[in-house]
């Protein structure tokens, strides 16, 4: 007990950000240790354990990115945006259309990747601006439906056959002739574009070509991988994940700077009492539009880094359900706290997203769990005291069970812990806590 007190006292003397790094690092390491122990105990090879770590970290990073962007909207400003997937789609599609090869199907503009990334962010911010201008005036629940409707409009437009490929330009204004440009969304089959994970190639290989001579970093990482028996492709993906972690840190620093700036105090004031903020002479409408556009640009960037790393950008990756995953990640961590967003992204990725898959692969490798064709057969065997078919059926339907689990987690959090893991750290608008009340729940301030 005293040792623990010593540790916590030593910690409390450190600055907040060091404690946060230790917190996130501790959670990550503890989770990795858990997965490694379970994996090794059931005879999973080092290569696939490291592969699982890579997958967990990749999803943790992308969910942390999107949750941070959403935290700016919801956690700080109180804008209930449930169209995140739509803004991600705008970013990723713009990037793909700008960078896809001009002779591809659908054709793109063939511009460099960086142009595509910046263009995607600008496009997402522009769509955010168009959505924000009128939508910010409506009630919170209407705003939710407007943003969800918008994200579905975007997805269906991308899915539509009539936009699969189209031509722009080809007309002349006076003496200036606008050249014809062929573009397209590819409809249901998506659009093939250079993947953003080429960044990893540039870091690992001289000349940026996979298969070239490794750089110094490449030598070190491949040597390490070889010693542990980890394949090169996992190391390359892992390097891209490290790049993503860099982006997470950048997002975090940016949002924390914003949160403690005068602009950030206006955001929190809007969340807590918009009328009061307006009475104090703050232009809340302009602030909301600005912060909405910034958040949308970050969502666009997150969409690019996530879906853009798959070489194929397809409309099915932007279903409304993706928005709800991001919400679960944010709520698990606790909205209103940037560190909470990162913790939430990691917990979601490790335990709700990759955990069930890991369990399934262990179960399939170790036990004879063939799934019977229907759950009726499974129950019929259970009736004759053979539980294995039911276990097999449940493991075979782990995807469905994962969805049920995510739904239940969301409900349980809303009932018993609406603050999430770190929501109590929500920063308030005033310099001192005037109310001295326990932390209010997200979005549900009914203390009048």
């Amino acid at each position: 007990m005293t040792a623990r007190d010593d540790v916590s006292e030593a910690l409390s003397r450190q600055p907040q950000w060091i404690r946060d790094v230790l917190l996130v690092g501790g959670i990550v390491l503890a989770t990795y240790a858990l997965f490694a122990v379970v994996g090794l105990a059931f005879g999973v090879g080092v290569n696939s354990i490291v592969g699982t770590f890579q997958q967990i970290t990749f999803f943790a990073a992308v969910y942390a990115l999107t949750a941070l962007a959403l935290n700016l909207h919801w956690g700080y400003t109180g804008l209930f945006n449930i169209g995140v997937a739509g803004f991600m789609a705008v970013g990723a599609y713009t990037m793909a259309m700008l960078t896809a090869a001009p002779d591809g199907s659908p054709p793109g503009l063939g511009l460099p990747l960086i142009v595509g990334v910046v263009g995607g962010m600008i496009a997402a911010a522009a769509v955010g601006f168009v959505a924000a201008l009128p939508a910010l005036r409506v009630r919170a629940d209407y705003f939710a439906i407007v943003t969800l409707g918008l994200s579905e409009i975007i997805r269906r437009a991308m899915l539509s056959r009539s936009l699969r490929s189209f031509e722009l330009g080809g007309y002349s204004i006076g003496s200036i002739t606008v050249p014809t440009v062929e573009l397209g969304t590819g409809g249901g089959s998506g659009i093939r574009a250079p993947s953003t994970d080429v960044i990893a190639n540039y870091l690992l290989f001289a000349g940026g070509e996979r298969g070239g001579d490794p750089t110094i970093l490449g030598d070190v990482l491949f040597g390490l991988g070889g010693a542990l028996g980890v394949t090169r492709s996992i190391m390359i993906q892992g390097t891209y994940t490290l790049v993503l972690i860099g982006f997470v840190v950048a997002f975090y620093v940016l949002l924390t700077r914003i949160a403690y700036s005068p602009f950030g105090r206006v955001l929190k004031a809007i969340r807590e009492d918009e009328l009061a903020a307006r009475s104090l002479g703050k232009n809340t409408n302009r602030t909301k539009i600005k912060v909405f556009m910034l958040g949308c640009a970050l969502m666009g960037l997150a969409g690019i880094l996530w879906q853009g790393s798959r070489t194929l950008v397809s409309p099915n990756n932007f279903m409304p359900i993706v928005t709800f995953y991001i919400f679960v990640a944010l709520i698990v961590g606790g909205s209103g706290s940037n560190t909470g967003s990162i913790v939430g992204g990691f917990v979601f990725a490790a335990f709700l997203w990759e955990g069930p898959r890991f369990i399934r692969s262990i179960a399939r490798a170790n036990f004879d769990v063939r799934a019977p064709p229907t759950i009726y057969d499974a129950f019929a065997s259970l009736g004759s005291f053979d539980p294995m078919p039911l276990v097999g059926y449940l493991i075979g339907s782990l995807d469905e069970i994962r969805f049920i689990f995510i739904g239940v987690v969301l409900i349980v959090l809303m009932i018993w812990r609406p603050d999430g893991l770190l929501g109590h750290r929500k920063e308030i608008a005033a310099a001192t806590d005037l109310s001295r009340r326990p932390a209010v729940t997200d979005g549900g301030e009914t203390d009048e």
């Binding site: 009128p134 269906r156 539509s160 809007i270 469905e400 739904g407 409900i411 009932i415």
Partner: protein, 368 residues
């Protein structure tokens, strides 16, 4: 979350009116273009009639579900995102009962109880249509309402009641969780495969007094049941004490409490009516379309929201009118835009109405 109503400033009103006028102008232009197309002969009268008719059929099942969504929205004060999955619940439970009863002796019980999850005997072999198996179809209809009501009441007791005073957004988020859990619980039993469960619809050739060659009897069942249920809800709300309490509660909850209206009993009745209609809607949609899938209700949810919002939240007559607008929009828009973009038109209409006429097209107050 602050829900400050910023509307009402002079500059905003003019902007709203401007956009409203544009909208109206656009609709007038489209109507004239429609008349021109029919007169010139680009669009045959038969095609126009079939668009309008399918618009009305779509609006009927959207309307059935919209009544319930509108009631929960105005009485429980939250946007219930799990309403779509109540529709799915009704579809699966109703058709399971219809299969268990109607297919006895033809197909294996293991196949019938899970609605052909194993790909068993096709619906044609079971003669799953209203003429060959009327008893099973009617019992299925009743079961769809009963099971959905039971599920909705259980969910309310377990989840929504605990959040009653938390405000709209926590309830909305919880309802998203309910939607996910409910849908995939169904999927766990019935699998995620979409499949045909209804036999081909029998037709009534050359009906008297009607200008059509044949009537699809499944569609006729849908139309008849939906209109009868809507009429029933109308009578209930207007002429019973329960209906009056419900209208009072959606108007002003505090005032209703003071007057001694039993809140929880009204909420109970809201779920019974809303969930029952949603379940029946799901069952009838499957009867009309012939196929069943677990995303059935979720895919419809946004259209139902659109209908409710168009009509003004809380007004069930508004919701029915909104359903008609949405149903006609998604079908008639096919005259101008490709089929895979028709829902975009409906959603865009919904967003425009939400932004520029948040009280709905008919500016109804929040009451039934």
């Amino acid at each position: 979350m602050s829900t400050v109503d910023v509307r009402g400033r002079v500059s905003d009103v003019t902007g709203q009116e401007l956009v409203g006028a544009f909208l109206l102008l656009g609709i007038v232009v489209l109507v004239f273009d429609l008349i021109r197309q029919v007169v010139v002969g680009e669009l045959s009268a038969g095609l126009l009639r079939s668009y309008l008719w399918s618009g009305i059929v779509d609006s009927l099942y959207i309307g059935l579900a919209a009544i319930g969504l509108s009631m929960t929205y105005s009485i429980l004060r939250f946007a219930n995102f799990s309403h779509g999955d109540l529709i799915t619940t009704g579809a699966f439970s109703g058709w399971t009962v219809a299969y268990v009863i109607g297919g006895a002796g033809v197909a294996e019980f293991s196949s019938r109880i899970l609605l052909r999850a194993d790909g068993g005997a096709p619906p044609g072999a079971l003669e799953m249509d209203v003429l060959a198996n009327p008893l099973a179809i009617v019992l299925g209809l009743i079961a769809s309402a009963v099971v959905t009501i039971a599920v909705a009441l259980a969910i309310d007791r377990l989840i929504y009641r605990r959040l009653r005073d938390e405000g709209g957004i926590p309830l909305l988020i919880a309802s998203v969780g309910v939607a996910l859990a409910l849908r995939y619980l169904i999927a766990l039993f019935y699998t995620t495969d979409s499949r045909g469960v209804v036999g081909s619809a029998p037709e009534w050739e050359d009906p008297p007094l009607l200008p059509v060659e044949a009537i699809d009897l499944h569609e006729a069942t849908l139309v008849f049941s939906a209109v009868a249920l809507m009429l029933g809800v109308h009578l209930l709300l207007q002429y019973t004490k329960l209906g009056k309490s419900m209208r009072a509660m959606s108007d002003n909850k505090d005032l209703a409490l003071i007057t001694g209206i039993p809140t929880e009993r009204v909420i109970f009745a809201t779920w019974v009516i809303g969930a029952g209609l949603a379940g029946v809607a799901g069952y009838l949609i499957v009867l009309d379309r012939g196929t069943i899938m677990i995303n059935l209700g979720w895919f419809l949810l946004l259209l139902i929201f659109a209908a409710v919002i168009l009509g003004g939240i809380g007004s069930i007559y508004g919701a029915l009118a909104g359903s008609l607008v949405i149903g006609i929009t998604i079908n008639l828009s096919l005259v101008w835009i490709p089929a895979d973009m028709n829902e975009i038109a409906a959603f865009a209409l919904m967003i425009l109405v939400l932004i520029f006429r948040p009280d709905g097209l008919f500016s109804g107050v929040e009451t039934a």
